[in-house]
Amino acid sequence: MANATTASNVVKLDGRREKAESLLKITVRRFLRHRMAVIGLVTLSLIILFVSVGALFFTEQQANSTTLTAKYTPPGAEYPLGTDRLGRDILARSIYGGQISLMIGITAVAISITIGTAVGLVSGYFGGWIDSILMRFVEAMLAIPTLILLIVIQPAMIQNATTRINILGRELSVTVVAIVVIIGITSWLGLSRIVRSMVLSLKEQEFVAAARMVGASDTRIIFTHILPNCIAPIVVSATLGVGSAIVTETALGFLGFGVQEPTATWGNILSGARQFVDDYPWIWLAPGVLITLTVLSINFIGDGLRDALDPRSRQ
């Protein structure tokens, strides 16, 4: 069993070196062959278009403006997606809410993939006191409740509530940014443990020992031998991470710690519907479908990426 693995990896290593220039091309070609991945990419692009170009048709003020006499209007000519309990246009809110929800999802995943993977690789590969320090830190972070972090920043946020931060041309209050960051910095812990567990096993395998024997540097071993074999759980964790970050914000909203209205997020539009799941389904349908589509398309893109990057795939 071990022999087979070693042999194939050495072969693959050599093969890769020969075709180095065309690797990107190969990856793109393989990715494009994955039909669902392409559909996912198109859908995600459409959603990004929706929240960015859509903003040209509505101002943020329109998204937040209330028409009390038109509350709970079902979808129709005037409000294509209906209105919520304050008569706000759900279409406009979905556009502006999407910007924040996507930002939450993407930030969390970016932090999770970079920090989580790096910590897992370093911790698992080098072991010893580096592993001890990094993993004890992860355990400490796991043990500190996220809600407490959100509560702690609250008084500071009140002092600075008027401070606005400009992100991609949109003015956001520090509170929103802080929630994005906190969801992000607590999202990498699991992935680092998963990557570490894979590395612990991989680094003891013969192909790594062989590479070490021929004088490959640690960096090289990590990036060419170990990391590619950890891609699968990283991709799953990343694709699940987008959804769970967006949903985490919703859950925080349920408990009163999420992004506060009037600033819309897909999450708080959804929470706003919770008392009337049955009576006014259009309030949760629009953001619900958008979140699902986002998560699904990112998943298919992830599947495609994994297949395209898979070192063992020979097609």
């Binding site: 309990r85 609250q154 008084p155 009140i158």
Partner: protein, 565 residues
């Protein structure tokens, strides 16, 4: 693989079969189940939650109470003390003395007799703060002495003229000495007495005087009350009342619809339609005591627009630019009352005015005050300072909705606002904890500070008086909005010390005019208390007998009856 799916299938079938096997046990008893939105950790008075006090309506009644029309009626006493029946006297020094006479033959639920000693015991506990942690209010400050006259009669002498002898700092006879005295003697405090705890309830330690006995408390689930054999009032028609704790508002409605509870109450107006839509459910509302108002910080303001807030015309403009009737109707519900003053309605002068929605006047007032939009950004400014209101409220949804809607009205007349919904603990924190209100770190805030529904006396020095502003030297005041009107303070003090009802009414009306004239308090709504009742379990005609104060919603529960067959 197949084996696993087979296993799952078998397990599923087993679970379903087991669960189908049980059916609701046949009951001979008449049980009423009330959905209860909050579980108190302990029983009153050790728990200060309103929902704890509501529970007392079942197992521990007071000396007297107020009915749906806020008319007082006696329970444990023979008659309500009053100057007319001679039980309320004004002593030579002008102070008030009230005599109480318990009805004969009152028994605790364990059969012991209720006597003046029980009332004296509670007086003893209240006067010494180390005997237990519960709210004492102003009792300690205003009560001079307690005299037992005989087994059923006693009197309280106040150290001031005290007109609120029925509603504040009254005697309390709801707690049995023979149960609580041993705890006090053992620990020096009643805090560890089983009387207040779920375990104590289940061990039968909680004896009281009410139509029901509190008989079982399953933490997080429900409390069960059974008819009290020693109750000498109207015999309850339901043998058992169960309060079921349901924390989610949408689920409360689902539970009523599924027949898991018979009564839901205290839900917000948004749900009225939903409850009405349920088959066989009748919904009714009663005048409530809970409401929110805009509080404007005009005397304790350190923010950039302190000058604007100190200008009465700006404060009038702030409220004149809001269409309060529309807000109340759309956000709270049709027929919602907008209170004109903080004090109970019965004391308002008849001609008491209220600032109407008039955006043009608001704009004009702001122009005159020098707040104009010179730079065309849509927000008025003066000397380079933009008119942006630091606008706080708690994180309750309805208040947040008011905040969002008010921001829009303000925006229309060139007033900016930063919305700051914060947790109640931060809004109401003390001065030393940097509480928003206490430190005056706000311009306008929405919250409720419930006035007594029965007394016009506001305890102004603490809440509205010039000396009540919290400072580093004296952090204990509650007047974070910095209201300061020496005329009002003086009038309020007189209201609090005038026993004669007619004279008191006149003074109160004058005080209220003075209060309203400061233009820092503007009511937003007073919401109704809603009840939804399953008509197949309760005859709705009997259920309309309810209380309308903050803690007596079920004070006529013994009159509630199942529908006639």
């Amino acid at each position: 693989m197949k084996r696993m799916s087979r296993f799952i299938l078998v397990a599923l079938v087993a679970v379903l079969a087991l669960s189908m096997g049980i059916s609701a046990a046949a009951q001979d008893e008449n049980i009423l189940v009330i959905g209860w939105e909050q579980e108190p950790p302990l029983l009153t008075p050790r728990s200060d939650l309103a929902f704890g006090a509501q529970l007392q309506n079942f197992y521990a009644r007071g000396l007297w109470d107020w009915d749906v029309n806020r008319e007082i009626f006696p329970i444990m006493v023979e008659e309500i003390p009053s100057p007319e029946n001679g039980m309320v006297e004004t002593l030579e020094n002008g102070n008030t003395k009230v005599t109480y006479k318990l009805r004969e033959g009152l028994l605790w639920s364990d059969g012991e007799a209720i006597t003046s000693a029980d009332c004296a015991f509670w007086h003893e506990l209240t006067m010494d703060p180390t005997t237990g942690t519960f709210q004492r209010g102003s009792y300690v400050d205003v009560v001079e002495s307690f005299e037992v006259i005989d087994d059923l009669s006693f009197s309280i002498t106040y150290n001031v003229p005290f007109p609120d002898y029925t509603s504040q700092s009254t005697a309390t006879c709801s707690y049995p000495e023979h149960v609580l005295r041993p705890a006090l003697e053992a620990d020096g405090t009643i805090d560890n007495s089983p009387y207040f705890t779920p375990d104590g309830v289940n061990a039968g330690a909680t004896v009281g005087y009410g139509p029901y006995v509190i008989s079982e408390w399953i933490v997080g689930d429900s409390i069960r009350f059974e008819a009290n054999p020693n109750w000498d009032g109207q015999a309850p028609a339901f043998d058992v009342v169960i309060t079921r704790f349901i924390l989610d508002t949408a689920q409360m409605q689902n539970a009523l619809s599924a027949g898991e509870i018979d009564v839901a109450f205290n839900f917000s107006n948004d749900f009225v339609e939903g409850y009405q839509a349920i088959d066989g459910v009748e919904v009714f509302g009663t005048p409530g005591v809970f409401g929110d108002a805009l509080w404007m910080n005009y005397g304790n303001n350190t923010g950039p627009i302190a000058d604007a807030m100190a200008d009465k015309n700006v404060r009038i403009a702030l409220v004149a630019s809001i269409d309060r009737p529309t807000l109340a109707e759309q956000l709270v519900g049709p027929g919602t009352i907008i209170p004109k003053a903080w004090h109970p309605e019965t004391y308002w002068p008849e001609d008491l005015g209220m600032i109407e929605y008039d955006p043009e006047m608001a704009a004009q007032l702001l122009d005159e005050a020098g707040w104009v939009d010179a730079d065309g950004d849509g927000i008025r400014e003066k000397d380079g300072v933009p008119l942006v209101i630091s606008f706080f409220t708690t994180d309750a949804q309805l208040r947040g909705d008011f905040q969002i809607a008010i921001q829009e009205y303000w925006s229309a007349v060139g007033i900016g606002a930063t919305l700051q919904p914060v947790p109640a603990a931060i809004l109401f924190g003390s001065y030393l904890e940097n509480g928003i209100l206490s430190t005056g770190a706000f311009d306008v805030a929405i919250f409720a500070l419930s006035a007594s529904a029965l007394s016009p006396y506001a305890d102004a020095p603490e809440w509205f008086g010039c000396d009540g502003v919290p400072t580093a030297e004296d952090p204990n005041g509650s007047n974070g909005w910095g209201s300061c009107s020496p005329e009002y303070d003086a009038l309020d003090l007189e209201v609090g010390r005038t026993v004669d009802p007619a004279a008191r009414l006149e003074l109160a009306q004058e005080a209220i005019r003075e209060f309203v004239d400061e233009q820092f308090w503007h009511g937003l709504y007073l919401r109704q208390t809603w009840y939804a009742i399953n008509t197949s379990a309760v005859d709705p005609a009997t259920a309309r007998d309810v209380g309308t104060l903050s803690s007596n919603y079920f004070n006529k529960i013994e009159f509630w009856a199942p529908p006639a067959a």
